[in-house]
């Protein structure tokens, strides 16, 4: 939470009724991987947007760390272009000048002791000149194999003045064993409340709105259970391919890139019990209970796929195996679908179907709650659509919002029914501009609020499920590619639903 009434109103009567934005402490924000795409496309535009809205502390500095040689001024210039290209706001020179004044660049391979010394010297200098008070955020925007080395080095040299927070980007490990090892390494040097495992989906307004929808509305909670819900469908569909990330994607595949983190977090938020409050521990306690109760009933309930050549928006695109840097015989999956169950009182026997893939027909992330059909509609169906179940759809992206599908009578003689949508469009109702996920998450990290970050046990539960699926995959050799780019995935995914007498939602 970024706004709060001052708690000390009983001491200072002038504070009563004032809503004062909680400001982060002075600090230095250190980005490892400063030459990477994430820094350019997401982190700097987010930092700039926060600066523009005066949400950063007055005493603030940014240190970029990367292997490539660059001067402070070159770094500033490159990031200025990044903000102009990828920022959501108009560029304001005055705000940029303020931000740029506190920017430094340290070129080093961090395994090198000399490089560590230079970083420490730079941070000490900033404590003096910018008043950053020994407080540090270390943002690890680096490839996964560099994370343990950095964590070890940072832990050894952590500042004794001020606080330290470490932000770790996904993927967090590549299986349960490596995640446990990484957690152990982190926890050797830092406390859990100093570790911020980022899953940027949790920073999206619409994901947070799912909690508001569920827990601020009396009408949904009574029917949010196995008695009224037939099944749930969660879709994370992309039209993009791997965008030059072959080295990463060949190792990760869809199951590690999206399923292990974004998809399972959406499942947890959809299925969790109401937390007693909106603090980090309460919310994460409820999410981890869902993840612990999650299982897939068996190998035939998990489908993997890989895209072949096809068309996206009328343009022919290469198959996955034809992408630069990809093994021509690659068995890496670019699509995964699964049927999951949450074994608890609320959801027993209610399937949750999830799917994620690249080069699908359209970009869309949705959570669809499909309710049970009306038990006995007293209408003749002649000239009507088949009577469909009610579906509550939470649109995460694009067209952020919520839709409810229900049957309505077509005006005229007799009873003819049609399915209609009642839409709440987020951007159309609150036109204040939706902040980027990274803005919210960076600000929360500066404020020390870990509610929207993933806790160690959550990550391990997620990997535990992924490991069980990957173990099943080792037994067979899939016939890839098995879906054309621009379609909705392999036929086996449709079969997964048809076996249960259901269908994926039409788009």
């Amino acid at each position: 939470m970024t706004e709060t009434a001052q708690p000390a109103a009983h001491e200072n009567p002038l504070l009563e009724g004032l809503t004062i934005r909680r400001m982060a402490d002075p600090c230095a924000f250190v980005i490892f991987g400063a030459s990477g795409d994430l820094t350019r496309r997401k982190l700097f535009p987010a930092l700039y947007s926060l600066a523009l809205r005066r949400m950063l502390p007055e005493q603030f500095a940014i240190v970029g760390v990367a292997r490539s040689e660059e001067s402070d001024d070159e770094f500033r210039e490159r990031m200025k272009h990044a903000v102009q290209e990828f920022g959501r706001d108009e560029f304001n020179q005055e705000v940029w000048d303020w931000l740029a004044e506190g920017m430094r660049f340290v070129a080093t391979d961090f395994a090198d002791d000399g490089g560590q010394d230079r970083l420490v010297a730079t941070l000490n200098e900033l404590d003096q000149t910018r008043g950053t008070a020994g407080n540090r955020v270390y943002y690890l925007a680096v490839p996964p194999d560099a994370v343990p080395v950095l964590v070890h080095a940072l832990g050894k040299r952590r500042s004794t003045d001020g606080w330290t927070r470490v932000v770790v980007e996904k993927p967090f490990g590549r299986d349960l064993t490596s995640a446990q090892k990484l957690n152990a390494e982190l926890l050797r040097h830092f406390e859990e409340d100093e570790i911020f495992r980022i899953d940027h989906y949790l920073g999206k307004e619409t994901v947070q709105n799912l909690l508001a929808l569920r827990f601020a509305n009396g009408i949904f909670e009574p029917i949010w259970n196995r008695q009224f819900v037939d099944h749930i469908q969660i879709t994370v569909a992309e039209t993009l391919g791997i965008e030059g990330r072959a080295a990463f994607y060949e190792q990760a595949g869809a199951i590690r890139d999206v399923f292990q983190n974004h998809l399972l977090q959406l499942v947890a938020l959809t299925a969790m019990e109401p937390p007693i409050d909106f603090t980090a521990e309460s919310v994460r306690n409820e999410k981890v209970k869902v993840l612990r109760a999650l299982h897939t009933p068996g190998p035939k309930h998990v489908v993997r796929g890989q895209y072949g050549r096809g068309y996206i928006e009328g343009e022919e695109v290469p198959g996955y195996r034809e992408e630069p840097g990809v093994d021509p015989n690659s068995l890496t999956e670019t699509y995964v679908a699964a049927k999951l169950y949450v074994d608890n009182w609320r959801w027993a026997d209610t399937p949750i179907y999830i799917r994620a893939g690249k080069r699908l027909a359209r970009r869309e992330t949705t959570i669809a709650i499909e309710f049970q059909r009306a038990p006995h509609p007293p209408f003749e169906q002649a000239d009507s659509e088949d009577l469909k179940p009610n579906v509550l759809v939470v649109h995460i992206q694009p067209d952020e919002g919520v839709s409810l599908e229900f049957a309505a009578k077509v005006p005229g003689q007799g009873i003819m029914l049609r399915t209609v949508h009642m839409d709440f469009l987020y951007g159309g109702t609150f036109r204040t501009g939706i902040p980027e996920a990274y803005e919210r998450l960076i600000l929360d990290c500066l404020l020390g609020d870990a509610t929207l970050f993933t806790r160690a046990d959550e990550v391990e539960e997620q990997w535990s499920l992924v490991d069980s699926i990957v173990a099943l995959w080792k037994r067979d050799r899939p016939a890839f590619p098995n879906y054309a780019a621009g379609t909705w995935g392999p036929g086996a995914a449709n079969e997964l639903m048809r076996r249960d007498g259901r269908e994926w939602r039409r788009h």
Partner: protein, 281 residues
């Protein structure tokens, strides 16, 4: 006025007709979060239209602007517009604005015209330009149908006298004052002077009369002591001195009128700190 509508039914029909895109034949997406009433006497028409233009996109709502014309023949002359804004690729969100000239005796009984046009179950905000005629017909009628009254006491002559009348409506309706909102950047600055400010005897405010009275009222009510006020006129709040010492200048730029009204339209709770400030102004 292109097509003067003379009844509520005609207004409804006009809105229904305008909710369709003439080219595609598709209905517009309609999202509503409130009904916004604006009472706009002749002298305030231009200023009100400027603010309405700035608001429409930010608060998808039905706005009903009421223009009293008591000296004209009885009747209403209305215009209904549906304004659409881009919202995502290929989608538009529409808001509705109804402008009604209340002629002759209609100006004294606005509630019966407004009530059938309110969006059901959504909050109703009334923005009253100028000093409300406390205790008189139209104002009293409208108070009974709205959830929140929004005034700007900067527009009021003869302060602090009208604050006494305003305080009498606090138990009937929630009140927002844009003049109070304009002091919001300064109040945390003054609060930051605690505990030194606890014994303040005198303040000097360079700003509007309303800002001066409200800040003095706020300090008197919060600190429970008499505080002398010196007022230096200015069209905006530029400084506050506490016992001769200038308070720190707040960061950022002051918001524009549409932003201020927009913020007030997002508030739903009673502001008791403001009410106490008004009573002590």
């Amino acid at each position: 006025m292109a097509t003067a509508l003379a009844s509520v039914a005609e207004i409804d029909r006009e809105l229904a007709a305008k909710r369709w895109d003439a080219e595609s034949g598709e209905p517009y997406q309609r999202t509503s979060v409130m009904t916004h009433l604006a009472w706009v006497p002749e002298a305030w028409v231009e200023a009100a239209e400027d603010v309405l233009a700035g608001l429409a996109e930010r608060h998808p709502s039905r706005t009903i602007a009421l223009f009293p014309r008591p000296d004209e023949d009885d009747g209403i002359e209305a215009r209904a517009d549906v304004d659409c804004f881009e919202s995502g690729v290929g989608r538009q969100i529409c808001t509705e604005t109804i402008r009604i000239e209340l002629c002759g005796n209609r100006a004294s009984v606005p509630a019966s015209i407004v009530q059938p046009l309110l969006l059901p179950d959504l909050p109703v905000f009334l923005r009253w330009r100028g000093v409300p005629p406390f205790g008189e017909g139209p104002f009293e009628e409208l108070l009974d149908v709205v959830d929140r009254l929004i005034v700007d006491s900067t527009e009021w002559p003869g302060l602090p006298g009208p604050y006494g009348d305003l305080a009498d409506v606090f138990d009937r309706v929630m009140v927002s004052d844009i003049a109070w909102a304009r002091t919001s950047r300064w109040r945390p600055q003054l609060a930051s002077l605690w505990p030194g400010i606890a014994e303040v005897k005198r303040i000097k405010v360079t700003g509007t009369e309303a800002q001066a009275y409200l800040l003095a009222g706020w300090l008197r009510s919060r600190l429970d002591r008499e505080i002398e006020l010196e007022h230096e006129p200015s069209d905006r709040l530029v400084s506050v001195e506490v016992d001769g010492e200038p308070a720190p200048f707040p960061p950022g730029d002051p918001p524009d009128p549409a932003d201020l009204l927009s913020d007030e339209l997002d508030r739903f709770a009673r502001d008791r700190i403001y009410e106490q400030a008004v009573r002590s102004a």
